[in-house]
Amino acid sequence: MAGTLQVSLWRGGSDGRYVDYEVPMRDSQTVLDIVTWVQRNADATLSYRFACRVGMCGSCAMTVNGRPRWTCRTHVSKVASNGRIKVGPLENLPVIKDLAADMQPFFEKWQRAQGRFAPSKTRTDPIERIAPDSPARLAANAAIECINCGVCYAACDTVRWNPDYLGPAALNRAWTLVNDVRDAANMERLTAVAADSGCHACHSHQSCQEHCPVALNPTASIAGLKRKTAQAYLRGEIKP
């Protein structure tokens, strides 16, 4: 055996504390492997989330040595400093227990930003023809791959400083829908994101873009929303 790792895991609710464990080191170990080892061999009461464990679903997102990441895609060798690792639940969200954060506020903001498609046609209407290389479709495609893992939200300091801020993921999704010509709710959507703590609260720190595991760029999406809402407001189309 190559040695052991000193691992600190958050235990309890928001008033919990870090508890230390010694975990055997293995080749190509991921942080998810460590957490799983602790739950199976050291303390069966540890709560944590995962699903696909191959970097597709985003369920295993946690805070590792201060940064939000997918634990199944984080090699221990890349993040351990002096053989120590600290793992906690995602920041900027309430803690349910141990390493599981409550994603409810995240999805509530998704709805508040009107991050849902509103149909404009029925099944009897002809299918909308959309050129895949139209500027609007390209803009939507560049931002569409979000799987709601919450890493950007946890990384965002503006969320941390302003609990009402809609956040990068919700605004990024709103941007994809603003660029969807089939959507019928754009005025409500622009009104929603132009309100207090909407897209204009973003300070372009770009932590979201830096941390997104799918290489999305919410800062750019939010910049687009700033432009669209400013134009709509100056034209009198929205009155937030």
Binding site: N162, G198, H200, A201, A230, Y233, I238, P240
Partner: protein, 109 residues
């Protein structure tokens, strides 16, 4: 921060870019030439251009600084939205009053 405040802040910012460059040029000119108070005032007294220039500058900065300060107060202090609004309106008025007083001071013959 909402769309209305955003537009006001970005517009005053854009307006101040050229004003600031002129102001920096003025600062450098005055310090290189070692201008005394009398020298400076001789240039500004009775000047409509300087009055308009700095009057515009004062107006823009009063709006811009207030909105910026509001963001800092709501994000970094426990003050709520209402208290922050009151505080920054007061600050903006202070800047405007002191600023216009200064413009008058250097322009009035």
């Amino acid at each position: 921060m909402n769309v209305r405040l955003y537009i006001w802040q970005r517009l005053t910012a854009a307006l101040m870019v050229p004003l600031l460059l002129v102001h920096l040029a003025v600062i450098f000119y005055a310090s290189r030439k070692g201008l005394s108070a009398a020298d400076m005032l001789a240039r500004t007294r009775g000047s409509v251009s300087w009055a308009l220039f700095y009057g515009t500058f004062v107006s823009a900065v009063a709006v811009h600084a207030s909105i910026g300060l509001r963001t800092v107060l709501t994000e970094w202090t426990p003050l709520g939205t209402r208290a922050s609004n009151i505080a920054v309106i007061a600050f903006g008025l202070l800047l405007a009053v002191l600023g216009f007083r200064a413009v008058v001071a250097v322009v009035l013959i």
